[in-house]
Symmetry: C2
Subunit: 223 residues, 2 copies
């Protein structure tokens, strides 16, 4: 059966912790901690802006989260440093299972990138990584001015991809994304690359759990 696969981008295709290498130039002693906090605040700001109905582009959440880290850790970043780090965010590394998995899945399914990021930012990420051609399209939450896991961003995806929820899989390493997609009836595959990762115990569980995207082609139901 042909399905529509909605791939989350940050954390699922690309590794946000990969920013650590760029961060190390400015915080050599605590690059891991700063990179993790940057990601943590980026997501928190998206949740809060969604809840406040005060939408700004995800790049604004990302920049504000960097500025928070700058103050918290006393990094003393100049405007140029900030620009360097923001640019590095457009060159995040792919997880190493992505390319092969996309090529396998693309033979049978319709494949979309579905992201909190705005379309130009996501398109440039995919281009830079050389995987733009694997996708049938890019859908951004920006069109509806909210963020995952607001239910309206998932119904927006279904509309844009012209796909029924029963034939649409959200593929994500982010628990909030799985629970959000499940709440509108989409099917869900949680990418659990880290064996120690815990799934949010809200009750709703992902339909599939894969330790690598490579496992996905064989796990998706045949009919």
């Amino acid at each position: 059966m042909q399905c529509t696969l909605a791939f989350d981008v940050y954390g699922t295709l690309f590794d946000p912790q990969g920013i650590e290498r760029a961060v190390a130039a400015f915080a050599p002693e605590r690059a891991t901690e700063v990179a993790a906090m940057w990601r943590h605040k980026q997501l928190e700001y998206a949740f809060r802006r969604g809840l406040m109905q005060r939408f700004k582009d995800f790049s604004v959440c990302t920049r504000d989260a960097l500025r928070y880290c700058n103050e918290l850790y006393g990094l003393k970043l100049t405007d140029t440093d900030e620009a360097v780090l923001m640019e590095a965010y457009n060159l995040l590394p792919l997880f190493d299972d992505v390319q092969q998995a996309l090529q396998m899945l693309g033979k049978q399914h319709r494949i979309y990138a579905f992201s909190n990021g705005c379309k130009p930012m996501v398109e440039s990420l995919l281009e830079n990584a050389g995987i733009a051609n694997e996708f049938n399209g890019v859908v951004s939450v920006s069109d509806v001015k909210s963020f995952k896991p607001d239910p309206k961003v998932y119904t927006h995806f279904l509309r844009e991809a012209n796909s029924h929820p029963e034939q649409t899989w959200l593929v994500s390493a982010n628990g909030f994304d799985i629970i959000g997609a499940g709440s509108v009836g989409m099917r869900t595959a949680w990418v659990k690359r880290d064996p120690a990762a815990a799934f949010d115990p809200w009750g709703a569980q992902p339909e599939l759990v894969v330790e690598s995207l490579i496992r996905l082609p064989n796990q998706l139901p045949v009919r």
Copy 2:
């Protein structure tokens, strides 16, 4: 001038990190880390449930966050252990500047507790700490089935306290709370007990910053 003061409860009057002592019985080696993660996930779950419009009582967010920690850290909590820890959450320690500040402020202003927690939970916290009589009332977000910083919880407060935003101060140690209250025109005092704390650099700033609640009576404008 008599003002209405809306005191945030968790993190402002009571110290959520104080749960560390109870946690230490189950995770002696990493009680600080587990307590911090418990608080972090509790807030994240509230933001996400607000954004998803899938409200559950804050006590459910608190319990789910504990269960997440249980799985992440492999704590192997029994049902009884969970009940013990949830009960400990009703006995969080007061910050040591609270009692004196409330007594001073109560002479001139109308004082409310305004919390993500449901009313019975907050009332029992205030009773247990012996400060219930300092408050003119308790307002909970539960009445409008969302969480801070959803703008509607702040307008709900204003309605319940029958107070104009220009005469109403949100007093909180939580940046998300300050920004949320500011977005509906309330006045804001950020309690920055930790000198290293960073304020979210979204643009909006608190009108007052106090390092201790004791400083608040002298900082509130006379007219």
